[in-house]
């Protein structure tokens, strides 16, 4: 990430590996922003779901004239099982958002349309609003869905 929300103008890389990774820290330190960064990279279309009223608001706006001109996020996925239809062991998805809210997507460095990206990742079941990303404050509500909604969740899986 660079220039994304509370992550300022220095590039920040977070190595996540197999197993269980715990992300912790004080309130407002940036933990949920990391989850937002992943959703953004995967093609999230709703700024509201990233707690912004428009996409330009996700650009770092730190005080003291440090406001960034663009936000850049990048996610590296292991593709050794080739579930993503790209001939590479690692698939890197990046997205840059400028002050007008426009996004540029790249797959392994090569520019790609959002539609092509989303279709490619969908082959591996990856999407920004899959059941594998549970946002803060939503877990209780998952239990409160109607029985029809619960059936649809299972249907969507297959």
């Amino acid at each position: 990430m660079r220039g994304f929300k509370s992550f300022g103008n220095q590039k920040v890389s977070i190595l996540l590996g197999r197993g269980l990774t715990a992300i912790t820290g004080p309130n407002g330190s940036g933990k949920s922003n990391i989850a937002d960064a992943v959703k953004l990279a995967l093609g999230e279309l709703s700024a509201k779901s990233l707690r912004a009223s428009r996409f330009s608001e996700i650009i770092f706006d730190g005080g003291g004239g440090r406001r960034a001109q663009r936000a850049w996020v990048s996610v590296q996925l292991d593709n050794s099982d080739r579930k993503i239809p790209v001939d590479a062991d690692t698939v890197t998805v990046s997205r840059e958002v400028d002050v007008s809210g426009e996004s540029v997507y790249r797959l392994n460095g090569k520019r790609i349309s959002r539609t092509a990206l989303v279709d490619t990742l969908a082959m591996a079941g990856i999407s920004p609003d899959g059941y594998n990303i549970v946002m803060q404050g939503t877990v209780m509500r998952l239990a409160e869905v109607s029985s029809e909604e619960r059936r649809k969740i299972i249907e969507k899986l297959v």
Partner: protein, 153 residues
């Protein structure tokens, strides 16, 4: 289509019951509202916590709902795994005991998958392979990562 759904439904049903029991020691199950025609009805979630009557999950407590929801998600994951999971404060409403048992289950299941859990609870941090500490300095977020294996070695 009906067969595809039922196959998935049964696999999830089984894992859900197992994971729920692992966290709470109680019993829970999914139930089709309409056995003959699954698509004309929904899927109910009934939980029976130790010492209590079975109840639709909508009537359960906040912590109980959290635990049931997570067991359901993990059951979906076992049937149809995705490369990574991000859980943001799913343990916020859990008491110490449920938080520990959930952390144990996640640690075990994470051997075959990648779980990224945002948490404020020591029980979860203590069982992680890797801890990412996020902090603010001069209004900017920074990150420090500890690999627990290295620390112990």
């Amino acid at each position: 289509k009906r067969e595809v759904f039922l196959k998935a439904y049964r696999a999830i049903k089984e894992k859900f019951a197992e994971y729920f029991h692992r966290i709470t020691g109680g019993k829970a199950w999914l139930q089709l509202e309409n056995e003959e025609d699954p698509f004309s009805g929904g899927v109910d979630l009934i939980a029976q916590f130790p010492g209590k009557s079975p109840r639709l999950i909508s009537g359960a407590s906040g912590g109980e709902k959290s635990v049931a929801a997570v067991a359901f998600l993990l059951a979906m994951q076992s049937m149809s795994p995705l490369p990574f999971y991000i859980f943001d404060e799913i343990d916020a409403h859990l008491d110490a005991r449920n938080a520990e048992r959930l952390a144990e289950l996640l640690r075990e299941l994470s051997k075959d998958s990648q779980f990224i859990v945002i948490t404020l609870k020591d029980a979860m941090i203590a069982r992680a392979d890797r801890v990412v500490g996020v902090y603010l300095r001069n209004g900017v977020s920074n990150v420090v990562t500890l690999s627990i294996g290295e620390v112990v070695a």
